[in-house]
């Protein structure tokens, strides 16, 4: 694995294909998502991340169930979330579910915490969206203790107290999964990530670069303020969404019918305006490479790039082709170029192996080489594309 991680993330929406009028069943959508994860591993991507939702038209309500299946059928893919709801989930259940997934997946697990912005979901879980930030703060503080302390006594405002509680299983090797904090607009979450020295994932797919720049800058400054290292050493992840074909004209022709009526950005700006205002890139693999490399100019050297690929009702076959292009034509070049441009001293993307090595160097050194050391992408794709 190179110093940066590349992957895909899915929201898990069931959306009609506007060109055919057909809507996948939940079963079909879930199977398609699973096939994307396997494809991601096959073509040498590093990360598959699923959203979590508790309302139609979304299917992924149970991310660790899905990721457990993927874990059993993959060997090197990191399984992650985009995002895990730190507000409405019980932090005890998050601690247990993700520790179990770590064991099942041999450590290939991290997670991105988010608040969720669908008001009605909160009361279904006994919460109130107006407490969103407070819930994220209190629940995560508890989650950290559950993964780090064998016996926890705790009391807080939003959950029943714990007395002499032990979360089982303990994290694999005693190393909790790496945590990214996801936020699109709340400086408080950048502050939270910085305080703990955790990762900050900014899903920038609806934002201009000025906004991305100020969010990431705040996180980096505060990461340094809290003594975790220089601002350049903070751990940053970004989103992005792409659709590719051999020529830009062809890509636009194929994607426009999906874009124009897409659930989130449809009936709004033109495809061309949206491409200008956000990271959406519809064009050739070379254009995607150029655009993505440009992110570091305003976010700095960063550790994780996730692409949203299965959006707007695109059919399974088209999404699989997009993942193939990403893995064979785009990511190998991005790995090489990002590595070349990268300033010295910028940390690699965290993995279970790197966290274990940092926590207990002797133990990590005594282990056989991790599968992580095999650069599958380089093996699949020729160096020059």
């Amino acid at each position: 694995m190179s110093s940066m991680q590349f992957g895909i993330f899915t929201v898990g929406d069931v959306t009609p294909d506007p060109t055919t009028g057909t809507t996948p069943t939940e079963a079909e959508r879930i199977q398609a998502m699973l096939s994307y994860a396997l494809k991601a591993e096959e073509v040498g991507l590093d990360v598959f991340a699923t959203g979590e939702h508790h309302n139609p038209p979304f299917v992924p309500s149970s991310p660790t169930t899905m990721l457990g299946w993927v874990a059993a059928r993959t060997e090197r893919l990191i399984l992650s979330t985009a995002t895990t709801l730190i507000t409405t989930n019980d932090p005890v259940k998050i601690a247990e579910d993700f520790a179990m997934l770590q064991h099942v997946a041999g450590g290939r697990v991290d997670l991105t915490l988010g608040r969720g912005n669908t008001g009605p979901v909160y009361p279904w879980f006994g919460k109130d969206i107006r407490d969103g930030i407070e819930l994220a703060v209190e629940n995560y503080a508890l989650l950290r203790r559950l993964w780090r302390e064998p016996v926890v006594d705790w009391s807080g405002k939003h959950r029943t107290p714990l007395q002499g509680f032990t979360s089982t299983p303990a994290p694999l090797d005693g190393v909790p999964p790496f945590v990214w904090h996801g936020s699109i607009r709340s400086p408080q979450i950048a502050e939270q990530a910085a305080y703990y020295g955790d990762g900050f994932f900014h899903n920038n797919i609806f934002w201009n670069k000025e906004h991305v720049e100020q969010m990431v800058r705040l996180y980096r400054q505060r990461f340094a303020h809290y003594g975790h290292g220089a601002p350049e050493q903070a751990i940053v992840g970004l989103g992005g969404q792409v659709y590719m074909a051999e020529t830009q004209a062809q890509a636009i022709k194929e994607f426009r019918p999906y874009f124009d009526v897409a659930p989130v950005y449809g009936h709004g700006p033109s495809l061309e305006d949206f491409m200008e205002m956000t990271p959406l890139t519809v064009g050739t693999p070379e254009q995607v490479i150029e655009r993505t490399l440009g992110f570091r100019e305003y976010a700095g050297d960063y550790q994780r790039q996730l692409f949203l690929i299965d959006h707007a009702g695109l059919p399974q076959q088209a999404v699989l082709e997009q993942i193939e292009i990403l893995g064979t034509e785009v990511v190998p070049v991005l790995r090489r170029e990002f590595d070349r441009l990268r300033a010295p001293g910028v940390p690699d993307a965290p993995t279970h192996a790197s966290l274990l090595a940092a926590a207990r160097p002797e133990e990590a050194a005594a282990r056989p080489a991790e599968r992580d050391d095999v650069d599958t992408a380089a093996a699949i794709a020729p160096e020059e594309v």
């Binding site: 930030i133 407070e134 703060v137 503080a141 400086p187 408080q188 502050e191 939270q192 910085a194 305080y195 609806f206 934002w207 201009n208 100020q214 969010m215 800058r217 705040l218 400054q221 505060r222 303020h225 809290y226 989130v264 950005y265 009936h267 709004g268 700006p269 305006d273 949206f274 205002m277 956000t278």
Partner: protein
Amino acid sequence: MRITVLAAGLSEPSSTRLLADRLTAATTAALRERGASVETAVVEVRTLAHDVVDLLLTRVATPELEAARKAVADADALVAVSPTFSMSYSGLFKSFVDTLEEGTLAGMPVLLAATGGTPRHSMVLDTALRPLFSHLKALTAPTAVYAAAEDWGSPGLDARIERAGRELADLVMALPSRRRSDPFDSDDPGFVSFEEMLGR
């Protein structure tokens, strides 16, 4: 002093913009009499109509709309003028206001005004505009100005414009200089650190 003018007329030129310009001129003159230097910026909602709808639907702001929102947020005072539609401000006027971040207008002196076909709708100032801006915690000037078609030939309108401009100028001068807090600036006095969030 920065005065931003929000004009939501639909035609070009519009009587709404004409009223907005006269209110701005009256405010500017009154501020200069009080020794202030004045800059003005005009937001014509008509030119941003598609951008406003796109933002409401997709959360994505065009650079032009972003600049307009910033012009409102950074103002020391606002002159807000809407045409009267169906007993209220126009939908487009409200939609632009809906794109402003929460708290943008809190504590901001605002001069309210509206245009309409007949004077029978002049209550729109106090039944629609003033409650909206009260909700947004703006400080509305006591005199709001309504211009019906027949008012354009009457000296009474000039007098009301002048009085409203003086009131807005007095409000601006009486208040400390506005400084918006920047939530992304950790040196800002309003910045909440994580220790504070944890209650430590």
